[in-house]
Assembly symmetry: C2
Homo-oligomer: 304 residues x 2
DNA sequence: AGAGGTTACGGGCAGCGTAAGGATC
DNA sequence: GATCCTTACGCTGCCCGTAACCTCT
């Protein structure tokens, strides 16, 4: 009598094409997967996986079974979502977070998760969005808050929040009268996110104009470091104002009006669209709600 | 993480309205059911069953859950049916059989079941059709071969086989020239199935005519006994010729042509239409196939 | 040699059956 | 008191993780 767990295991083995990867995805060991598949095949009296020293594919019955497994898992997940109480949702969610979010509302998110889903364990990994995207695709993450949608067939992208990028200067920096024109701006190094990220690329595109002096763009994967460098007067940084609320309030940093604008940083909560009941979907929705609240809070503060 | 077994247990508790009955249906004990339901409710964090010392009904969530459970079980059963090899089908099937079938092809059916589904255990109960029907409705049987369809919402009735009823006489009985008219026939006791059965009722209706002498109808729930009584010249019996092949061949009994006819005995394989994967459905289909074969065999013999 | 899957073994835990304990009619 | 469900307890058996082994590239 194959149970839900068998279906889950089989699904991930089939989808990821290997016992090892499936084991990783399901937070277990490879022998456990091996035994489960063996047991499943024995109980059904049917070979589901084509193998020859390596796993090569599914048998015809295996493909048919995969279809059923997917439908069953989907229905099962739907059921849990409809019936189960939030507190009873359990599991480990591997969450990847872009650093910007860490400096805005991640703490409140974690708190909220613990409050409403005490049985869920978060494994948080902070990294730059391209790495997060990669990790999502490789199934090493269940959920990520990162820049822009990950445009892949079975990825669910929920819009999360959007922060305008600002030019920020420390107290010792004299940029002259505002708005600061581009040619004056590039006299200073510009400090921002790492080379592989969207802001860096967009910024570089904007500054790489023949008429201008070649820009010096410094980057760090650590937002805190960018802030530190800005405070030390090393240059002008390009980051969302949202992450330096405290420094702005204390007057240690200031926003610099310029003649140019950069697109906003749009974050999404992105999670693989799986047929099994990953709590990730729930958390994604929760994050959306929370981000919306935060947004309201900001608007309120600004409107006062 | 509720598994298939939980759904099965919950389904039967809900449907039969009690832990005790569900335990019986699922071949287990009542505490096992109790614990399983408790665990399920705890994991979901939701009360599913309304109880107050006695089980009174389902909560709203329970009703919703029942709907999901039914859909999941149905899909699961469909999957097993599509994927699993016949040999891997296992379980205990409580089979009720009308005696007529015992005397025709039951032995071959049992043999066939053991050959194609060695993991299935049969629990066979021979009784008259009305009792079998009752037992089916009370979920004390998983499958029955009996007279006529059981017309109930979730009963699956598959036509099985049909035997003409014959008047049968022993060697010592002189009925005069054939075809024997009714008024001559009723001089002898007529021996047939018990009072609650269809043949008895139909026979009685036919013989209870004002113009005729009041009929003497003897009955026995044991076909063998009816045959014995017929051999002993106690009277004319009304049974299917199919069950006395041997006696006819040896000339110990003979069919009596009469001026009247009785409807055929039509048997069905009847099984409750459950969403879970009872092997009963499979066996019902198997029985159908076998009965058809037997029918062919008979036709062949007669045509020679 | 390294990656991927299978087999072997020991420990933990879930689920079952037996048996005793309420609660309600 | 009868019926039905719950709780307690000891046991079995399954499943997992560690580790060693096999087999191809």
């Amino acid at each position: 009598m194959p149970d839900i767990r068998d279906l889950e295991v089989f699904y991930w083995v089939a989808r990821l094409g290997g016992f090892r990867r499936a084991a990783e995805r399901l937070h277990t060991t490879q022998p456990a997967i091996s035994l489960r598949i063996a047991g499943l095949e024995e109980r059904l009296g049917v070979r589901l996986l084509e193998r020859g020293a390596r796993l090569t594919g599914l048998t015809p019955k295996g493909r048919e079974f995969l279809d059923y497994a997917e439908r069953l898992l989907r229905l099962h997940a739907e059921m849990l979502d409809a019936i189960a109480t939030p507190e009873s949702l359990s599991g480990i969610v591997r969450l990847g977070v872009a650093e910007t979010i860490v400096h805005t509302w991640l703490a409140r998110f974690i708190e909220r998760v613990h409050a409403t889903h005490p049985a869920i364990t978060l494994e948080i990994e902070v990294d730059v969005s391209p790495h997060l995207s990669e990790a999502l695709l490789a199934s090493r993450l269940d959920l990520a808050f990162l820049l822009g949608p990950v445009s892949e067939p079975h990825m669910l992208n929920l819009p999360l929040c959007s922060y305008p990028l600002s030019f920020v200067a420390g107290p010792g920096l004299d940029l002259g009268p505002e708005p600061v024109p581009l040619h004056r701006l590039v006299r200073w190094p510009v400090i921002t996110y790492p080379k592989t990220t969207l802001p860096y690329i967009q910024l570089r595109q904007m500054l790489m104009q023949p008429a201008l002096a070649p820009p010096r763009i410094y980057s760090s994967s650590s937002l805190s470091t960018i802030v530190r460098m800005t405070l030390d007067g090393i240059g002008v940084s390009v980051i969302p104002a949202a992450v330096i609320g405290a420094e702005l309030a204390r007057g240690e940093l200031r926003l610099v009006r310029t003649e140019v604008g950069l697109p906003d940083l749009a974050f999404t909560a992105t999670t693989p669209l799986t047929p099994d009941s990953s709590p990730a979907q729930r958390l994604a929705r929760l994050a959306c709600a929370l981000a919306a609240e935060e947004d309201d809070k900001q608007s309120l503060l600004l409107s006062i």
